[in-house]
Symmetry: D2
Subunit: 350 residues, 4 copies
């Protein structure tokens, strides 16, 4: 019951001090407001953003206010709903869009709620999902697909990144290069294949990850440690270049490589986030009439609908390499930081 | 007559040696092939590309083979046509698309002839228009609008740049920043206004040029020597940023400024060509979901049709500041290099 | 105060019986819910939809439940707001989107709230605006432009129709035919001109209305009583056809005319609503590759933002021909039914 | 040798009299002009257009001038080329776009050569492919994919119809209904699946054809003789309607069915050509904001490139049911008219 829950104390992984690291702490279960939903979190997964906050890099220092619970990816069951919430019921199996939008700014007004001027991100600007309970506005709750177990449902949010990127790239009948062997890059291989790409070529650094890309749908994988991806793509396309390049690594050289390997009139998606400004030969953009599109998050909720439709063709669980009870979070984080894990799922209830 | 003309020697401005400068030389009138058209050039105008070739900069050294006649902008009358040319007749008043496309490569096949893989540019890859006669393939000939005198018709090619940029920017009901006070940037003010922009703000460095932008349609002009355009645009848009920014200067700082002043979800057109790779904070592109579109030339011939339709609203002659007989080419070139002239028209027949 | 207002009785124009006509009745001021806003209506205007309900035609009989207050176009001041309303304050000058959307269906989720599966239209599915007070969900409230008096602000909703139609037609550098001389057709002339059309040609039946189209921006007007618009458009376009035709009359012959006068590859917007199924030569659609786009309402709130941006160029008040206190509603309705008025404004507070 | 070939007499299927039927006749091999290519036809296939001409229906009577060789689908080898032809060589394995475009009209200028104002269609406006030799302008010659035998290469032209329709429908993550069990409708099932559709539902009248649709990729087939496709699609989509409906039958009721079964905001492609104007409830188009796009032919040559890219996923030969030497044309035509055959290939050289 909502009123009683209000007093319950649960465990959570939180940033408690403005320095590297995080702690497993006790936390009061929040009381949801009239337009909010309280979710009992069954599964939560660790994203690159959580790693930035854990590592306390420059971006994290400028954005995060402690103390705060980490995490934004999750799936669970509705515990209770506020008085003004009508489309969600206690017991519903849910996840949520992690960009909490205001609904009234110019960007929300014009179909761009995911880049809302007043956006608050779970686990970044407010308490996150690495806890047994989570309160979110009803406006961001998404009814999870009942075909999916919680560990898959928690991956739907980053899978939505992959879907957003591929859909914006417009891939049918095109050859598509994907740079990056993180979970969104690997899942993008599956989405690109399902969305009609004629050829999907994944570029990465780790062979075991590239094998997963191949399983998910890549026609060919390229280990950039061993061969020059620009030269290879040029050869594969008889000097023309690829129709579309999805830059999903954030590596400093990757965007220039993307511009170098895309064909005239082609499209480059910038999704990976470089740590600092990079050098780019923008004359190439001009002479080749390249479209370079920055993308972030997912369209709310268009991408969520699309993501569900791709599920029969893309096994989102294929990127889950490790599962821990919440108390095992440190091991999961360490494996991710060492690139020994791809996607780590935590179980707060355990 | 074609056979007789074949022997005639005319004056031309040509690059004769691989070093800075150019010369007024005697040149044999070319004999057009079966699919070509011989044009008697009434007017030709000097473009930034000609200035690069004259100055013999790095790009010019890598691309130009001497000896070669300079120039690509022009207007004139058809002198004769080859045996396989049917839609152009001797006496027709014409100008021409300056990107000579092959018609059979992948890019030509898919509606992108202006970035043809085998493109040859007049005055860059083959003899140009700073001469009394010019032979071009019939496929690039454009019947000039009879409303226009030759000095206006020769400007239709760079005007097409402005039209291409504005049309790709999709400006109706939007506020539009134009960076650059060269002829294409100034004309873009007129096109943006005619094409339905709600506000047109031109950024430049020279007040006399910004006055022309205002006359052509800019609601506001900003001299970047005196005020910070990014701060000003932010203030004008209440912190949101402009819907669209057209970077038409090629200045090294301009593209980052464009990204800084565009709103989330907005569009930046990269048309200006920086002299070297530049530093760009591409994380801004990502977080703001900016579309950065490189553009070059004009669509063949869609842009030409559109350009004619904008003529009643945009006085293309407003950017012509100087006119010379062909023999006065050096003075025109000097004024352009010193930014004392905007668009210089040469009259080869005089 | 909300609690006191709850008891107040005001005058309203309502459909009280399932038959033609309407009545001026006394009505209890509604009490807004927690997510609602109570608006004191300064001005309301009569739309074609109100005329259908008044006349009690087949559509009205199938859709309307009596008793119900008529009207949806309006402008006024916020009297009070519910406890969950935060972005609107008492005293705010407002109007509202008249399509009340659910926010949670597939169409709302994917950027199409204006065709929400559960839409309720003011004055159609719930009590409307022909009354001194009106309660609407806060989600549809729009802050009216302070430049506009209430009689202009009430016209922003149908003006939004014109804007939606023109923006979807993509008019820059195109020639545009507008069929229909009702208020949305006339205003569309102004919008098309402001949005960059190269030529705007309005087709109607009444010369005095076509004069208004010309004042608002039409380059040419065509009285279809006197000349065949298809033949004329063909002549004006040298047999090619118009780039875009906006069918905003609902006349039975108009859509076939639109298809006949549009050029191959052109676009026809169907906005007018014919009284019954009509005969259409759809082979013409195929052979000419015509795009026939049905449109209704306005995009929420993208179109509202665009509409405000066009205000400096389009005098929306130009279509207001008559103004009455609410008690004069019958005269206004009669003039509209006899096509003696174009847009009639009622003042409920008077 | 060209000069010798000029005298050779070959067999051809031609319409010789303005009445139903056709004849196997002797015909002089044409001499190609300087910009033409002479093709020795290895295989040609019969299209619905040929059936209209054979049957001498109203459309055929108004368009066809006798005597004329029938047929436009084909594949073969280049025998000789005109003096101005450079990108095609004798011996090349080719087929051709069947819409011969002028290259200089407004539609050709703006990327719509397939609806060229001066279009001439092979076998409709000039001699066709049901003959051992065929002369076509070099501008329409397409190098056939060497992976394909002639009987598959001749099907690439109608396969291009399917590709054009599906690409314009933008199917990734969408559910797609295809109405029509002719060869283009069946092949569209394969293309829709390959191009990323989430669900493909084919509607037809013949179970054996629907089985082919299923083999090519349809998730579900619906025999409209036995069940109401509108009711079924509504049920499958929980009352929302399908995202996209491809009307490829030309049946008189089909377009209204398409509008009835598409969801609000959805897209209907009109590709099938009804024999006469039909009754359409266009108010449905308006209230549902349906996009109804007429399509014909294929984009030149964008669709051809796309079609080749879909070949690994779509077995175009699956719709070929019958093969005859040219002399067996009558049997093939009869089977098609009786719907006993789907695609009939003729071998002129045999």
């Amino acid at each position: 019951m909502l009123s009683e829950r209000n007093e319950i104390v649960v465990q959570a992984v939180a940033k408690t001090r403005p320095e590297p690291g995080a702690d497993l702490v006790n936390w009061n279960v929040p009381k949801p407001g009239p337009a909010e939903v309280l979710i009992r979190v069954s599964a939560a997964s660790i994203c690159g953003t959580d790693m930035h906050i854990y590592s306390w890099d420059e971006w994290a220092r400028s954005r995060i206010h402690v103390p705060q619970i980490l995490g934004h990816e999750h799936a669970g069951y509705v515990e209770s709903v506020g008085s003004e919430v009508h489309h969600v019921q206690p017991g519903d199996y849910v996840t949520a869009e992690t960009h909490i939008f205001c609904g009234t700014c110019y960007l929300c007004h014009t179909g761009n709620a995911h880049i809302c001027r007043n956006v608050e991100i779970l686990g970044v600007d407010r308490n996150g999902t690495f806890a047994e309970y989570l309160a979110v506005p009803a406006s961001v709750v998404w009814h999870a697909d009942p075909r999916l177990p919680p560990k898959a449902a928690t991956v739907m949010e980053p899978f939505g990144n992959s879907v957003h990127v591929v859909m914006k790239a417009a891939v049918p009948a095109k050859n598509v290069v994907i740079i990056g062997d993180g979970p969104t890059g690997l899942l993008a291989a599956g989405v690109a294949r399902a969305a009609g790409a004629a050829a999907v070529w994944n570029v990465g650094l780790l062979d075991d990850r590239l094998e997963i890309a191949a399983e998910l749908g890549a026609h060919k994988t390229i280990n950039a440690s061993h061969e020059d991806p620009v030269a290879l793509i040029n050869r594969l396309t008889e000097g023309l270049g690829a129709d579309v390049v999805l830059e999903m690594s954030g590596a400093e050289v990757a965007l220039q490589q993307a511009v170098d390997m895309v064909r005239p009139g082609g499209r480059v998606i910038a999704f990976g986030i470089p740590a600092r400004p990079l050098s780019l030969n923008t004359a190439d953009l001009v002479f080749k009439e390249v479209e370079l599109l920055g993308l972030v998050g997912r369209r709310i909720f268009e991408t969520w609908h699309q993501a569900e439709r791709f599920l029969p063709q893309v096994d989102v669980q294929r990127v889950i390499t490790d599962e821990f009870p919440l108390s095992g979070w440190q091991e999961g984080m360490d494996k991710l930081l060492n690139r020994k894990a791809i996607k780590v799922v935590l179980y707060p209830g355990q």
